[in-house]
Each structure stands twice: as C-alpha cells, then as structure tokens.
C-alpha cells in the first residue's frame, strides 16, 4: 500500500489560478442563468428545457465546425440554431402555457427535454461529438505572478463579461429593454398600450435561448458534446437564479460568480484544509463530500437572510 503525502503549502499563484477558474465557471453559469431568469422574470415561465437549448448550441457548433473546419462559423451556427429552436418552441408550445400554473409548465418543458434529447440522438447518434478549441486560442499563456492559464478559458471570461455588459445596456438603455421591463411589471397594461406582447415574448425567449446556445458551444469545446449534457448545468443555473433573485440580470451575474468561485475554491481547498486536523484519506473523502454541497449551503444561507434572493424584487 502506498503512503499518502499531501502538499499542505498552497502557493499564491495556485490560489490565483483557482480564483480565475472559479470566475470562468461563474461566467459560463451566467450565460445559462441570464436566459433562464429573463424568461422567468418577463413571462413567469419555468423553463426546464433551457438545458436542451444549451445542448442544441453545442451540437450545432460541433456539427458546423466538423463540416466547415471553422470554430467561429460553428459559434455563429450555435447562436442561430438555439435562437431558432427557442423561437419555435415558444410559438408551438410555451405560448399556450403562460396562463397555466407552474406545474403544467414544468411538465410540458420536461417533456420537451425528452423530445430534444431523443431528436438529437436520432440526428447525431449516441456517441459524443468532437469539438476542440480553435488553433488560435489553443495552449496556455503566462500571466503576471507566474500564473499559466489556458487562453481559451480567458476568452470565455471575456465573452461572458461582454455579454453581461451588453445585456445591461439592452435592458437599461434600449426601447426593447423598456418593453421587457414593462412586460415584467404589468403585462396586461403594455398589451393595452399597443405593444405586440406575443412578439416580445418570442423575442425574449429566443434571446435567452441564444445565450444558452452560446454557453453550450463555448463549454462544449471544453467538455463532452453529448446527449443529456444540459441537465447538470440547468440545476446549477437554477441555484444561481435563486441566489441572485429571480428575474434580475444583475442577480444572475453576482449569483453566478458566487457559485462559480465557491464551488471551485471549495473543491480545491477543503480537502487539504481538513487535512490539517484529520488523517489524509478521511480528509479527502469528507472534504469532497462537503465541497459538493457547498453551493447548496450557500443558497440556503442567502435564502435565510434574503428570501427573495440577493437582488430579487418578488418573493
């Protein structure tokens, strides 16, 4: 039996790298959560099939990149495919559910998950697809303080923050944003004022879907593009919007970063921190068990202090 040796000293550069990893995970969660929270805030709809749109984005990107050899065309295809799938689903199915209660919505969107999964399998087969980072973004770069970090992950952080800024601008400064906010506040009133509410809803839904598709394509490059890839992320995205406050983009951003950093640092630090006063193999087991529930503990704590979430308007 080998002897366990643990490295207890945690260098500053490793800690900085783990914080970057947490930010990157958080930004990716934000792309998922933004669409989810927008749809819930504006239409009052719980959309479990949001993870399927993430999967659609990843598959569209992988298939297009394989056919054309260009990752960037794949990225464009993922936005288009997810937005189109989102609009289609909104017009064909979800439109009928706005007036119904949440249980009906959950049932219908759960059925959509199954249909999306089987349709994807039918189209692409049961084996995971290949999707890799474009050559121009491959490899790692040197950052200050001796940190080596993959260029592609830095790009994800950049894209996510840019999308966040874009959304704040869209919601806060444009005519469409005014309508979205008005629709959130009182949908009968803005319909009475002559805004085509049906078109607005389709548009918002397609926007949320496109963001999920973008996340799927960006993350699919790091992970495995396979049927069912959307559901684990969906659960995290729900945790994010509950923490951030349902309907709030700002809440989604803060919640996503909190969840990303908490999860990553918990996984990285807890087992070795516990190793200081436990025997190593026990510390590993207990540490990873606690790390896996850390974000749910965080969610519970936030809900105790602020039952509507950090930036939530409604309870």
């Amino acid at each position: 039996m080998p002897r366990s040796v643990r490295c207890s000293a945690l260098s500053a550069s490793l800690l900085a790298e783990q914080v970057l990893n947490g930010l990157q995970l958080g930004v990716m969660l934000f792309l998922m959560a933004a669409g989810l929270t927008l749809v819930f805030g504006v239409m009052g709809l719980i959309n479990l099939a949001h993870g399927s749109l993430y999967m659609v984005g990843a598959f569209a990107c992988a298939a297009t990149a394989a056919a054309t050899g260009s990752f960037w065309l794949g990225l464009a295809a993922s936005l288009a495919a997810a937005a189109a799938a989102g609009a289609l689903v909104e017009i064909a199915v979800l439109r009928r559910l706005y007036a119904r209660d949440h249980l009906d919505q959950v049932l219908a969107t759960f059925a959509l998950i199954l249909m999306f999964s089987e349709a994807t399998r039918w189209l692409f087969g049961s084996f995971p697809l290949y999707l890799d980072v474009p050559r121009s973004l491959a490899g790692a770069v040197e950052l200050p303080f001796g940190i080596r970090y993959p260029l592609y992950r830095l790009m994800i952080i950049g894209v996510g923050l840019a999308v966040a800024l874009g959304l704040f601008w869209l919601i806060g400064r444009t005519r469409l944003g005014v309508r979205i906010r008005a629709g959130e506040a009182d949908r009968e009133m803005i319909a009475a004022l002559g805004v085509d509410i049906a078109r607005l809803y389709t548009l918002v839904f397609a926007l949320g879907a496109a963001l999920a598709g973008l996340a799927g394509a960006l993350v699919g490059t790091l992970q495995s593009v396979q049927v069912g890839m959307g559901e684990p992320v969906l659960i995290l995205a729900f945790v994010v919007i509950v923490i951030g406050g349902i309907g709030s983009i700002k809440g989604a951003l803060v919640g996503a970063l909190l969840v990303g950093v908490t999860d990553t640092l918990g996984r990285a630090l807890l087992p070795s921190a516990l190793g200081a006063f436990m025997e190593p193999s026990g510390a590993t087991a207990v540490g990873s068990a606690i790390a896996s529930m850390l974000i749910y503990v965080l969610m519970a704590l936030v809900l105790v202090v602020r039952p509507a979430g950090l930036f939530g308007a409604r309870a």
């Binding site: 039996m1 080998p2 002897r3 366990s4 040796v5 643990r6 490295c7 260098s11 490793l14 790298e17 783990q18 990893n21 947490g22 990157q24 995970l25 999964s117 089987e118 399998r121 049961s126 084996f127 995971p128 697809l129 290949y130 999707l131 890799d132 980072v133 491959a138 490899g139 790692a140 080596r148 993959p150 592609y152 992950r153 993350v219 490059t221 790091l222 992970q223 495995s224 593009v225 396979q226 049927v227 069912g228 890839m229 684990p232 992320v233 990553t264 640092l265 996984r267 990285a268 087992p271 190593p280 193999s281 590993t284 087991a285 990873s288 068990a289 790390a291 896996s292």
Partner: protein, 377 residues
C-alpha cells in the same frame, strides 16, 4: 384414453434431448441518455454473435433501462413474469446491476453480465446462477497500478468520482501500485469542469496521473488537461478510451496508456473475424463493450449446445466450462464465476482518420479478482 396419453408423454420425454428447448434471453441495457453508447455496443455485439450462430432456439428481448435502477427492476420483473425469460443479461452500470441481479438469480434465472462487475457480487454475495463475462470492477484499475510500477512511476496523483465504483477504482489501483501518492482526489459524479483539479495536479509534483472518469467526464477531463498544457503522463482504465469516446477526445488522448482485457489487435482468429464482421455490419469499429456483448452471446450459445436450460445444474456446468472461442483468446471462469484473463496495456494511436488503441504490453497475466476467496457456492 389415459394410457395413450401417458405413452405420448413418455415418447415426448424420450425425444426431448433431440428437440432442444428454446432459450429466451431478456436483455436490459442502457439505450438512451448519456450512457447509451455502452448499451448499444453491448447489444450490437450480442446480436452479431446471434446472427452468426443463426440458432433458431435462441430468442432475444431487448429493453432500455434509461440508466435508472427503478426502471431496470420493473423491466426485470416484467421479463421474468410475463415474458418468462430463462436468462437475463445486458446491464451496464453497477448500481442497476445491484438492483436487479440478486432478485433475478434468487428466482432461479441465469444472469450473464456483459459489463457491470460489482465487488459485492464477486465475494460473499456471489451466486451459482450469476456469471460475469467482462471483469470484476477492480480488475482494470489493478492492472493500471501494476503498469505504473512497470513503467517506473513512483509518485502518482489519483482521481475518481465520489461514488462506489470510484472508490473501488482507487482501491484497485492502490492494491497493486507500490509508489507514493502525490495526491488523491474525489470529484463529483457528473462533474464537467476539471480546472481546479488540473491546477492541483500541476502543482503536486506528480510523475503520473491515474484517473477513472467514465463517459463524458473523461472526455471533459482529457480535453481540458491537454488545453492546460500539463504534460505529466496519464494512465487510466479502458473505460475512458473506448472507440466511441476516443473520436470525441481527438488528439488530446494520443499516446495515453490504458488497461483493457480486450483490444482490436489481440491476435487470434475469433477476434479478427469479430472486428471485421462488426465493422461490415455496423459501419464502425467495435469497442470493448461490443466485444463483451459478443463473448456473452457466444458463451450462452456454447452452453445451449451442451445442455437444456430447463436442467439448471447441467446448464450451469456447461456455462462454467466456458467452452467458446473468446475474442480475448484464453478465457476461463474462476470459482466465483468471474473471468481469469490477461489484462493488456494499450496506447491510443491514430490510424488514418480514426483514433484507436494498440497493445503495447501485458499488465497482468491470468489475472483473477481479489474477492474470489470470500465466495462460497
């Protein structure tokens, strides 16, 4: 009337050995969801063997367990009670196997496992009617530990998901590995981002990384590992390097050593014919799961040629002989009905456009599992 009836029955009894009883097989396997690739390969391998044997007495029913234990149990009840199957097979995942197998064998059915080999069924929980045609879960990890010694690695970082098969994997590796550990990490089951773990690996000063991350988890890890630019050699069991997964990982897997009881280049006529006919039939290369499905069907067919399934003792004895040509070459059962077989070290290579494995050595010869001694039948 009555004497005539008795005579007819007697005549029937006399002729019975000539008219073989049909054998009905119920296959419960994973055909949808993220783990579907494994079940599909097992099914396709099994059906290929059936098609080649062309034995009209073998009847197959296939159902999808959706990788859910409750559905697997429901299907098993249905197959035993309504379909009246004689033999069950097909389950991929150990948690489903534990839910189905003990009750199926308790009802007198035979179970031939084409994949899952939980330790609970190899040791004190073994059963005369349960046969595993693939491996005991620990075997490939044990072989990886043995290979690490042979390769001169003395400071491994080891990692697996935090669930029973994950802890078994690390235990199996440590059972044979003799060096020190640079780190031991349990990840979350279904985790898709490994940035935190990769940073730890780079920082740990390890000379090798052993990981067991089946399915999509392994794809994610290997891609991210390559992108992070870490060059510490990887070792793993074949589950992260099968034919279905490799194409999705691509260059990131090239050169990685992995342990398997099967490889497409094992040099024997059965294997050559199997690889060729599988490719012709399905248009893709077979995986180890496909070979396991193929061997399971051939084991069953060999027993059918020797005994009636209605005579459980004779049928069991026929299965124990394992008198079939395995794709793995030498194959026999240990006292607990688990395989005794060679486990190879393979290397991921690219042949034309296809990523695949080739054998570079033998990790463990005639390897049996660690639990056989606890099995009392």
């Amino acid at each position: 009337m009555k004497p005539t009836m008795t005579a007819v029955l007697a005549a029937m009894a006399l002729t019975a050995p000539a008219l073989a009883e049909p054998v009905k097989v119920g296959m419960i396997t994973t055909l949808s969801g993220g783990g579907a690739g494994l079940g599909i390969d097992v099914r396709d391998g099994f059906m290929l063997a059936m098609q080649q044997a062309n034995n009209p007495d073998l009847e197959l029913v296939v159902e999808d367990d959706q990788q859910k234990p409750d559905i697997a149990v429901q299907l098993a009840d249905e197959m035993i009670q309504s379909e009246k199957v004689d033999v069950l097979t097909g389950i991929i995942f150990s948690n489903l196997a534990m839910a189905v197998i003990p009750s199926a064998v308790a009802q007198g059915k035979f179970y031939l496992s084409p994949n899952a080999g939980p330790s609970a069924l190899a040791g004190s929980g073994c059963d005369p009617n349960y046969f595993n045609v693939a491996w005991q879960n620990d075997n490939l990890h044990e072989a990886a530990g043995a290979y690490a010694n042979d390769a001169g690695f003395a400071n491994s970082f080891i990692m697996a998901p935090n669930y029973p098969a994950g802890t078994d994997a690390l235990t199996g590796y440590k059972r044979f590995y003799e060096g020190e550990l640079a780190g031991e990490v349990y990840t979350q089951l279904g985790q898709t981002d490994y940035a935190a773990e990769i940073a730890q690996i780079r920082d740990s000063g390890a000379d090798s990384v052993f990981f067991f991350l089946p399915g999509g988890m392994g794809i994610s890890f290997m891609k991210q590992y390559a992108q992070a630019g870490v060059d510490i050699p990887l070792i793993g069991p074949a589950f992260s390097f099968d034919q279905g997964i490799l194409q999705a990982v691509g260059d990131a897997a090239l050169g990685v050593k992995n342990t398997s009881q099967w490889s497409k280049d094992i040099d024997n006529p059965t294997n050559k014919a199997f690889v060729e006919s599988f490719q012709t039939e399905y248009g893709r290369l077979p995986s180890l799961y496909a070979s396991q499905g193929f061997d399971t069907a051939n084991l069953l067919l060999s027993a059918m040629g020797k005994a009636e399934v209605t005579d459980a003792d004779a049928f069991r004895a026929a299965l124990e002989e394992a008198d079939f040509a395995s794709t793995r070459g030498d194959f026999r059962f240990g006292p607990n009905h688990h395989p005794i077989q060679d486990i190879y070290v393979r290397e991921v290579v690219k042949e034309g456009d296809v990523y695949t494995n080739r054998i570079v050595g033998v990790a463990l010869k005639d390897h049996a599992d660690a639990y056989a001694a606890e099995c009392q039948m």
